[in-house]
């Protein structure tokens, strides 16, 4: 009786689905903090957390309790409302973005027709929160971190959007369920290897994780916009970061790896829900592990390297992918042509990155004047 009532009222139905997500989000974040410390520990040949609970599994719970009972300090000179509202502005858009994400063919909150566009639009809002946190703290490091975050996040948003757009062109839809349905035979990563590489790198930068942790670099701006935040208020930023990590990973597995589809159509007609969830978990987990692996292996980029990499390499190649896709689609060439074309362009991008990384800088000459600082 009550279930029927819920499924007929759009308000109650959405509320019920979102309440489950609201419960799952903190749990996921608590688990992921433990997983991240464990993975990075293992990659660096350490054990990671081992003390709290078996193999340190309760470490995340202990951290949450500690953060919850920690005194919340606000600097006296801080801009009160900007400082207090910044965590909201960062977490709420992340939570809103969950609405558009389908987890399996039937498990979703709302199958939005413009899901991909909505996701891109909403996830861009968090940038305001970083600038607010940086500006409101009345701290020099926070301000520098805030403007750095703004510069990095807006720059890398464009290649990310263009890579997503290339996939939308291929399946001629902005509905995520339709995009997954179009990858029944071949996942998009085969046709769009260049877009995939751009997505992975720009996604890593959007998550401001190493090697792109310039806005929050401890040794440069001591935590960036979050330097004055403590206790649960700080953990809200952490929550936003980890939910964003999960969202980008789910989005990547949906639009590039074929989402809940099994390879070679293992289940002929209809895939059981449990198998769909398992496939999503495997693909999303691969992405999350990739992001953690990059964090453990690569040193931080310099800010000028980071910006010129985005604008001089990723953006032109993203346009190239869009033009290649357009040519193939509009002249009705077979999709298989995209595999060598995109692959060749991806190889070109990788070669140019390799060459730039190997290049020696301009040698210091007496009388050579640098323009400003690198801040």
């Amino acid at each position: 009786m009550s279930l029927v009532l819920i499924s007929h009222n759009p308000w109650l139905e959405s509320l019920a689905r979102l309440a489950i997500i609201a419960l799952l989000v903190p749990v996921t974040v608590i688990i992921l903090t433990w997983v991240e410390r464990k993975v990075i520990g293992r990659l660096q040949m350490r054990l990671g957390p081992m003390r709290v609970g078996p193999y340190g599994t309760l470490q995340g719970v202990a951290d949450t309790i500690k953060l919850l009972t920690k005194e919340d300090v606000r600097p006296q000179t801080a801009d009160r409302w900007v400082f207090e509202l910044a965590p909201f502005v960062i977490v709420v858009p992340v939570f809103m973005a969950v609405v558009a994400i389908p987890f399996t063919a039937d498990l979703f909150i709302k199958n939005l027709t413009l899901g991909l566009f909505y996701f891109v639009a909403v996830s861009g809002l968090s940038i305001v929160g970083f600038v607010m946190a940086g500006w409101g703290s009345d701290n020099k490091y926070a301000l520098l971190g805030g403007v750095r975050a703004a510069a990095q996040l807006i720059s890398y948003e464009i290649p990310l959007v263009m890579a997503i757009l290339a996939v939308a062109m291929l399946s001629q839809s902005l509905n995520l369920a339709v995009i997954v349905g179009a990858q029944e035979d071949t996942p998009n990563i085969a046709y769009q290897s260049l877009a995939f590489i751009i997505f992975a790198i720009a996604g890593l930068a959007e998550l401001y994780r190493q090697p792109f942790d310039i806005p929050v670099a401890e040794s440069e701006v001591v935590g960036g916009p979050f330097v004055e935040y403590s206790g649960i208020r700080w953990s809200m930023f952490q929550l936003g970061e980890f939910v964003n990590l999960v969202l980008i990973s789910i989005l990547g597995s949906l639009i590039f790896l074929g989402g809940w589809q099994w390879p070679w159509s293992v289940f002929d007609a209809s895939v059981p829900v449990a198998a769909q969830v398992a496939m999503m978990a495997v693909k999303t987990g691969t992405f999350i592990f990739f992001f953690m692996w990059m964090r453990a292996s690569l040193p931080r980029l310099r800010i000028d390297q980071m910006m010129s990499f985005c604008w001089q390499l990723l953006l032109p190649f993203a346009f190239l992918q869009i033009i290649i896709n357009g040519l193939v689609l509009v002249y009705d060439w077979p999709n298989e042509i995209l595999i060598p074309l995109s692959g060749a362009a991806a190889a070109g991008a990788v070669y140019l990155t390799y060459r730039a990384a190997r290049a020696t800088g301009v040698r210091y000459q007496p009388g050579y004047q640098t323009v400003g600082s690198v801040l």
Partner: protein, 125 residues
């Protein structure tokens, strides 16, 4: 039709409210559980252990604004590209070449900024 579209975005409205409640709930829990003993020293902003010198309103370099302007241009281009990307196959080759011209115009703008040294973070290259 309009009600259908509205029904789709009810979930968005509820998600916004729930997101606010999630953060507010966490802050409220902290208010109940955590000790509160503000002192003058705690209220000083952090500056590597020293007393902060002056206010934080330091000057931010001009190149941040240049990147912001560049972002604005290409973000608007992305807004134009989204509806185009799902419709251009039905319209045909004309729609595709028009968009190529549009992309090329902006690409020349990017090239100009590149040659002016905007993209290399103020270094003379």
């Amino acid at each position: 039709m309009i009600t259908e579209l509205f029904a789709d975005y009810i979930a968005v409205l509820i998600a916004t409210i729930l997101g606010f409640l999630l953060v507010a709930g966490a802050l409220f829990g902290n208010r109940i559980l955590a000790p509160r003993q503000p002192t003058r020293t705690k209220g000083v902003t952090y500056e590597c252990g020293m007393l902060p010198i002056g206010r934080s309103r330091t000057q931010v370099h001009f190149r941040y604004y240049l990147f912001a302007i560049l972002f604005l241009i290409f973000d608007i281009e992305a807004v134009f590209l989204f509806p185009w990307s799902v419709a251009f196959v039905k319209i045909g080759a004309q729609a595709f070449w028009e968009m190529v011209v549009f992309i090329l115009i902006l690409a020349f703008g990017l090239l100009y900024a590149w040659k002016k040294g905007v993209l290399s973070w103020g270094k003379e290259t």
